[in-house]
């Protein structure tokens, strides 16, 4: 067994790592739900092309925002490790 906060083989995680994990987990759900929605929109026969395009543009905007946040969170983690 590893000690609490260590995992695995002696890795020690600081509060910045934990914060990064806590922020990335819900973003993972947002991004994944967004991707599932995009798959549904592409398959939906009830949508016309204009509606489909508008919805997929919104999906892309959400995904872009998620990726921007992920990049910021990565920076926070790096700063935490180097300080």
């Amino acid at each position: 067994m590893h000690a609490a906060g260590d995992s695995p083989d002696g890795f020690v995680f600081d509060p910045a790592d934990q914060l990064r994990h806590e922020l990335l987990s819900p973003l993972t759900s947002i991004s994944a739900r967004n991707q599932l929605l995009a798959r549904d929109i592409r398959r939906a026969s009830s949508l016309n092309e204009k509606e489909r395009t508008r919805m997929l543009e919104s999906i892309t905007a959400i995904e872009t925002a998620v990726q921007t946040l992920c990049a910021v969170i990565d920076t926070i983690g790096d700063e935490g490790r180097s300080s």
């Binding site: 590893h2 695995p8 083989d9 995680f13 994990h21 990335l24 991004s31 994944a32 739900r33 599932l36």
Partner: protein, 132 residues
């Protein structure tokens, strides 16, 4: 289990602490015709995997949590489960690097960072099953 005549239905088993993530995996893979089992690192997870013999596993390794690593080691140590391909996922790149460095020890595995590209996850599982 066969969904369509002559086409075996592939079985994916996902283990994660997040019920929402498990719902997403279930929805994604069921849409693609897979049989899906999910669990939240229950104490009997290993026994379930050993009994069900899924075609592939999706296991999350999280910061400060032992369950993912312990399950990987348990699976690798048992002849009945060592050959089951595993997709290892994590929010922490260091954990993924560590897992990759020990890939031989943990058997036939692939690695993906969160947030996940669902197409990449589907492709990885499909390829691992075909290669197994």
């Amino acid at each position: 289990v066969n969904d369509r005549i002559g086409v075996p239905r592939r079985h994916v088993f996902a283990i994660n602490t997040s019920p929402e993530f498990l719902n997403i995996v279930r929805e994604l893979f069921q849409e693609e015709g897979y049989h899906v089992t999910t669990t939240n690192f229950a104490p009997n997870s290993f026994a379930q995997i050993e009994a069900l013999q899924p075609d592939a596993l999706i296991i999350d390794v999280a910061i400060g949590e032992e369950a993912g690593w312990e399950l990987l080691e348990q699976l690798d140590a048992d002849a009945d489960t060592a050959g089951i391909p595993v997709l290892v996922i994590s929010t922490d790149p260091r954990l993924l690097s560590h897992a990759e460095a020990h890939a031989a020890r943990y058997g036939t595995h692939r690695f993906l960072a969160k947030p996940l590209d669902l197409d990449a996850m589907l492709q990885a599982i499909q390829e691992m099953i075909e290669e197994a």
